[in-house]
Subunit: 242 residues, 2 copies
DNA sequence: GGAATAGTGTCTTTAAGACATTATGCC
DNA sequence: GGCATAATGTCTTAAAGACACTATTCC
């Protein structure tokens, strides 16, 4: 600000995506094996540089979502997670990443035929176990993304984004159990989700296939925030108190 | 990705700050009258370009905090709010802003002597009333910052960041009432904050000056998350349900 | 009928909402 | 004593936790 013709340092912008979904009642994240340096061969979150000077950040996120995961803008939830800009996070220079969190229902193998065929769904547990090496600071971004999802399940109707257009209450419970990693009492869960008015609404004549009694189908309701919130039982990780 | 030597478009990075504090039991935000184009003469959030190629984002935020508000890194809360990158948000070109939320106790007029003497504390109500024009997309950033503060008061011990090193329970209640904009019952508030173990702990021999009975003093406790959370009464703005 | 899953009901316990009352300082 | 603010207590009510039970389908 004080020098004669000081110019601010330019940076490069990437958009990275934490794409979460449920597979076999387990939380999974989409990872891609990098084809180029740096971190060639290492797993990374899908993402890439801003396409052009005028591209909006959300637009770029949707573009990457389509290119790298074959996911269209409909029927998925997308929100900003934050910005990651440590000076040394990318060996190529000053690259700042806008991270987005996407939540999608389980789709029919969305990966195989797409542009980036090196994409693979990895269980969240495994991705953060330490056994898997992630490129850049993507482990931190992934951790933050999962934390965000866990928090938002408490106060928002976000859980329905993990489900298809219609779903059963058991499936919804599956979402909560998988994301939070704790078992829930089915009867109390039923009472709770039914009592929050507008969270889920009955859909169609209701029916489903399994071994037992058919379950009613529901759609997401108009309500986006949950009052009172869902209560997440504190798992083993309750650092404070006893 | 497909062309021969495609290079990603560089962008400029700014760091903008939503600095909140309490003044006369009202939520205030620090605004600065811009001295240069664009938006010269218009009120804006404090902030500025990244200082140099190697500067970390949080470091830049702390630097701006010191330069523009005279606030040191101690005894204030700072967290990232998000990134704002609409292509047309800055007439100078592609400028992307990393927004940070800072919460500080009321300090002895921190503004007057500092570098930027055009800084002024403005009540949040007034800043968002529409009467005040804010530069760039700073109205949106401010709205998001206040929303974030409101949410975090529910589940975190953030409220103590508005207070000095020691405070009375009444002062803490003031924080909640000012940020949420709703009156709270003092007796239930006492019961609540005392029951959340580790939220606040007695400090010193306890005493304070007013007209009436001296109040006990407390310090922030080790607890950072509140279980169960503080309940925010839904003000007039309860779009869903009745 | 038996297995499997869906859905409902009841009792208990925790904690919030709505109050009144007592306590301790200053003038 | 009178005033002002701090602090505590009680009753009610809402909602979560912990259970047992009935219902509907397929074999």
């Amino acid at each position: 600000m004080s020098h004669d013709h000081w110019v601010p340092p330019p940076v490069l912008l990437t958009v990275d995506l934490v794409i979460l979904t449920l597979r076999e009642s387990c939380l999974h994240v989409l990872l891609i094996e990098r084809g180029i340096e740096p971190y060639q061969g290492t797993l990374a979150l899908p993402g890439g540089f801003l396409g052009h000077e005028k591209e909006d950040l959300v637009t770029a996120a949707h573009r990457e979502l389509a290119e790298e995961a074959g996911l269209g803008p409909d029927q998925l939830h997308l929100e900003q997670l934050g910005v990651y800009g440590a000076p040394d996070r990318d060996p190529r220079g000053r690259v700042v990443s806008a991270a987005y969190l996407a939540i999608a229902p389980r789709l029919p193998e969305p990966v195989a035929g797409t542009d980036a065929s090196r994409a693979c769904w990895t269980s969240a547990e495994q991705a953060l176990s330490g056994d898997v090496q992630l490129a850049f600071d993507h482990e931190q971004i992934l951790t933050d993304g999962i934390d965000r999802a866990r928090e938002k399940l408490e106060r928002s109707a976000l859980a329905t984004a993990f489900c298809g257009p219609t779903f059963t209450i058991s499936e919804l419970q599956d979402v909560y159990e998988a994301v939070w990693g704790v078992p829930l009492d089915a009867r109390n869960f039923y009472r709770k989700v039914q009592s929050v008015d507008g969270f889920i609404v009955p859909a169609g004549p209701s029916r489903k296939t399994d071994g037992g009694r058919p379950a009613r189908l529901f759609r997401p309701g108009p309500r986006t925030t949950l009052h009172p919130p869902m209560i997440r039982p504190l798992s083993q990780a309750d650092r404070e108190t006893a």
